[in-house]
């Protein structure tokens, strides 16, 4: 049983560019959340997707957007990249009907913005 997978593992972009990160949830999970983790900091909640809709959003600008597909996989898009967007981006999946704090995390995508 595959856990949460994310791609790519690493990415280098320059300021102003756009990036798309991908996530496949754990088998049986239908809810996907995205987090940003700056170096030495805890994960910060970006948003959560359920039934292909954004269900909840953290304090992130509109440059951060997402999508969930019918197979429950998800994408995170970041436009107009800033240096401060450099971080580890974590995807977590969960199953509706279970406590939302029970999240299974992928290995993350490390984004470096130059």
């Amino acid at each position: 049983d595959a856990g949460v997978t994310q791609s790519p593992t690493h990415l280098i972009k320059t300021r102003g560019q756009q990036v798309t990160l991908r996530c496949s949830p754990k088998s049986g999970h239908d809810t996907v959340s995205w987090y940003q983790q700056a170096l030495g900091q805890g994960p910060q909640f970006i948003f959560q997707y359920y039934e292909e809709e954004e269900r909840q959003r953290g304090n992130f600008p509109d440059r951060f957007s997402g999508h969930q597909f019918p197979n429950y996989s998800s994408e995170l898009n970041v436009n107009a990249l800033l240096l401060g967007d450099s971080a580890l981006y974590l995807c977590a999946s969960s199953a509706s009907g279970t406590p939302k704090e029970t999240q299974y995390f992928g290995p993350g995508t490390r984004l470096l913005v130059l």
Binding site: F45, L90, E101, T102
Partner: protein, 110 residues
Amino acid sequence: LAKTTQPISMDSYEGQEVNITCSHNNIATNDYITWYQQFPSQGPRFIIQGYKTKVTNEVASLFIPADRKSSTLSLPRVSLSDTAVYYCLVGERNTDKLIFGTGTRLQVFP
């Protein structure tokens, strides 16, 4: 808005018991308290979860007082491989958003 706070770091020796406390005085009424372990460049890994009183599994115990404004993760007989950062995760009252604690870096020495 109150933060979910933890001690920045803790040191221990192999075989000792370690207790890490998280203060979450703005926790949502109906939400669980969950603890995660994170190694460098990896995603957080679920350790234990509880709603009130005490929960125990094969790797840890979780103590939650009646007011639920804090919780304590207890790791019995730590080993070198327990060296990691530990986070609590709670739902925030009114917004119901998930908030990670500030994280505790545990260093275990031989």
